[in-house]
Symmetry: C2
């Protein structure tokens, strides 16, 4: 088969999956909450019953991964075992227990001509999920999309192809048994990268793309997509300790933001400290940081106060370390702190520690980040902590969804009009 | 200057405008409602005072247009006269009078750990507007964006370049006088098409692109943009006359949807009629349509009942006529009507006429369009009619905004957290 012929086949294959998904989406539009919840619970049970099969298929992926020399971390994420399969099943049940966002009617109001106009929350339609070799995402993302009434086109990292195929096969069987169109779940089970490129061209068939993975994957998706993309680039998060902060609270918040789980996107990368209190505050908090294994980088003023700090370069302030490394900068006050955040930050999670009401309100209003905190750790930026239930990711976009994305963010609204014969004058 | 050198200059020029806009956006983040409203009112007055100058600059565009043989309709849209300048000024004043969406806090709720979590409505940042040679859009779109706290990068059709430059110059002067950063309004005043392509690559500097114009313009923007695009493709709108319709109401709604202003996106293109009532309903309504100058195309059943109808082809059902032409199709009932709408429609505005409660509710739920009507004309799909105030367009997208887009759709929300020392456990 020539290359061109292969391209056409590939295009047909991917388009076929997306068209199945559209048919599935129409079916889901008609499905009520009870029916969707029952399906999710049946799926959870089926995954548990399929444990043996899933582990067997996963072993094939792990075997192939060993041959390719995958890193330890990647191999770990690729691995399915009894515990992880139980977690997937629990995840499905938890999503079943969440309230259904679909059908809610917002702001139904009577217009002067007597018609009632409101917005009804409805599914988006078909959602494409592009992710790395993490089989659990296959079940987790599918559950959230289905609950919100959307069909999925899944494209997981090729290293997990056998595991994903097995999971999808189980989920689709349950869909069929429960009387759903099988097109509600689709999986692009060919390893070629070109399949993703074709998928990203299917504007009109796929309504939204959610990529989950590293910055490289996400940039490649944005570059090639004609379909709207909801994305998460990176988290360069800040805590600004104001001169009017409670120093004990500030220390607890900064330590938590840095060390509680440094590898996450909402961990603090740079601590900004008001010069008025730097002399008293820095030695105490930085000593505590170092005791927790944090390497401290700082500007000149920080180094003067705390000689243990290494010098931070201009580039360091842009970095998402995801590690026990902290930048520290002494600033003249709130304005300089906000300028620093606007310049070097990634608009993810930023916090001020202060007891000054006016500064707290100004920080909330003027810092342009997905989540802005007063007197709380940036680590709290999370769907569960915010009360959204399970989340499909954190958006650093401003369009459609910003911050943690729960079920509501997987829906849109349409206008509904209840009339009694109204016409346009 | 070589082509490559020109490309680099062009890129620098466009990037410079977008960077100015970012600085402008930061300034607008701090501007309160009163200050923004005063600016809009001052701008309105300045446009009126500049009438002579604007008409002079517009004359240069019109002169050039005559040379290029622009169509009469395009020349009309390009023309500025005293009346149109007054309308632009009024538009600015109307936007000043609308409520400011920025700063609203939604769903502020206490979490179990005592922190308050909510969402604050904030500006999107920098909005790029790409439009055809209609100088009034320059003022109208700018007003809506500024009121919602966003800076703009404007790119109007090159035929209007002198008019647009004059309008922007007046608006920027007022911005400066009122103490705003001039970067709140930017205009790409070079005619090269490549300037648009460069603009669409500026992800990170421009947050959102809103193209306004024909389908060709919009497709080209979507094809080339790395920035999210809010768009309006086309309106292939339907009215389904159910067997349980009030025939008089159905006739009024169908006539209004077709003839009140056939050139608009929310005018009906296809009327679907339940076979149970077709025999009685069609002759009356189609005669009335013909009296209004409507050419009727129909399926076989329609032609049997109403011999005046020409045969509609399969392709006709996909067409947005924007003219006094109507497709008519006799359907077996509601299911066939909804299938027709799903297949041929553009998910814009669709209406059912019925007195049957169950069918009305099902149509509302299952028809996947930006606006779904019961017993009302599709022509009512409009920001003003829906009570949103002025609109920047109608979105046929599902992401971020769907249907008429008012000020709220030009904002996003961020999460805000009011804490008292909370950390992640």
């Amino acid at each position: 088969m020539g290359i061109k012929e292969m391209d056409i086949k590939l295009k047909e294959f991917v388009t076929g999956k997306a068209m199945d998904a559209r048919a599935g989406a129409r079916d889901l539009l008609r499905a009520g909450t009870d029916k969707k919840n029952l399906l999710l619970i049946k799926m959870a049970r089926a995954l548990l019953s399929g444990t043996e099969e899933l582990i067997k298929e996963n072993a094939r992926d792990l075997e192939a991964a060993r041959g390719k020399g995958l890193s330890k971390a990647m191999t770990d994420r690729l691995t399915l075992n009894e515990k992880r399969i139980k977690e997937m099943a629990c995840g499905l049940e938890e999503v079943a227990a969440l309230p259904d966002p679909v059908g809610e009617v917002l702001h139904l109001r009577q217009r002067p001509n007597g018609m009632q106009v409101g917005r009804m929350r409805v599914p988006i339609g078909v959602i494409g999920i592009i992710y790395e070799a993490r089989p659990n995402v296959t079940a987790d993302a599918t559950a959230l999309c289905l609950k919100a009434g959307n069909a999925v086109v899944l494209r997981g990292g090729s290293e997990a192809i056998n595991s994903n195929r097995a999971i999808v096969s189980i989920l689709r069987q349950e869909a069929k048994k429960e009387g759903f169109h099988e097109g509600i779940i689709n999986f692009i089970d060919i390893p070629e990268r070109e399949a993703v490129i074709e998928m990203l061209k299917l504007e009109g068939l796929i309504d939204l793309i959610i990529p989950r993975g590293g910055e490289g994957l996400i940039r490649a998706v944005v570059e090639n997509s004609r379909i709207p993309v909801l994305k998460h680039y990176k988290g360069v998060c800040h805590v600004f300790v104001d001169r009017d902060a409670d120093p004990l609270m500030a220390r607890e918040i900064c330590l938590n933001a840095k060390v509680q789980r440094p590898g996450t996107c909402n961990a603090m990368e740079t601590m900004l400290v008001d010069e008025e209190i730097a002399q008293g505050f820095l030695p105490v908090v930085l000593k505590a940081m170092e005791e927790k294994g944090v390497a401290v980088k700082g500007d000149k003023k920080t180094m003067d106060i705390y000689p243990g700090a290494q010098e931070a370069s201009e580039e360091d302030y842009y970095k998402e370390y995801l590690d026990l490394i902290l930048n520290v900068r002494v600033v003249a006050g709130m304005d300089e702190a906000m300028e620093h955040i606007a310049k070097y930050g990634s608009s993810h999670s930023d916090s001020i520690v202060t007891m000054n009401y006016e500064k707290a309100m100004r920080f909330l209003r003027e810092v342009d980040s997905a989540a802005v905190f007063v007197n709380a750790s940036t680590r709290l930026n999370d769907g569960g902590q915010f009360g959204l239930g399970a989340e499909i990711g954190i958006s650093t976009d401003k369009i459609h969804a910003r911050g943690p994305m729960g079920l509501e963010e997987l829906t849109c609204t349409k206008f509904i009009v209840l009339g009694s014969g109204q016409i346009r004058q």
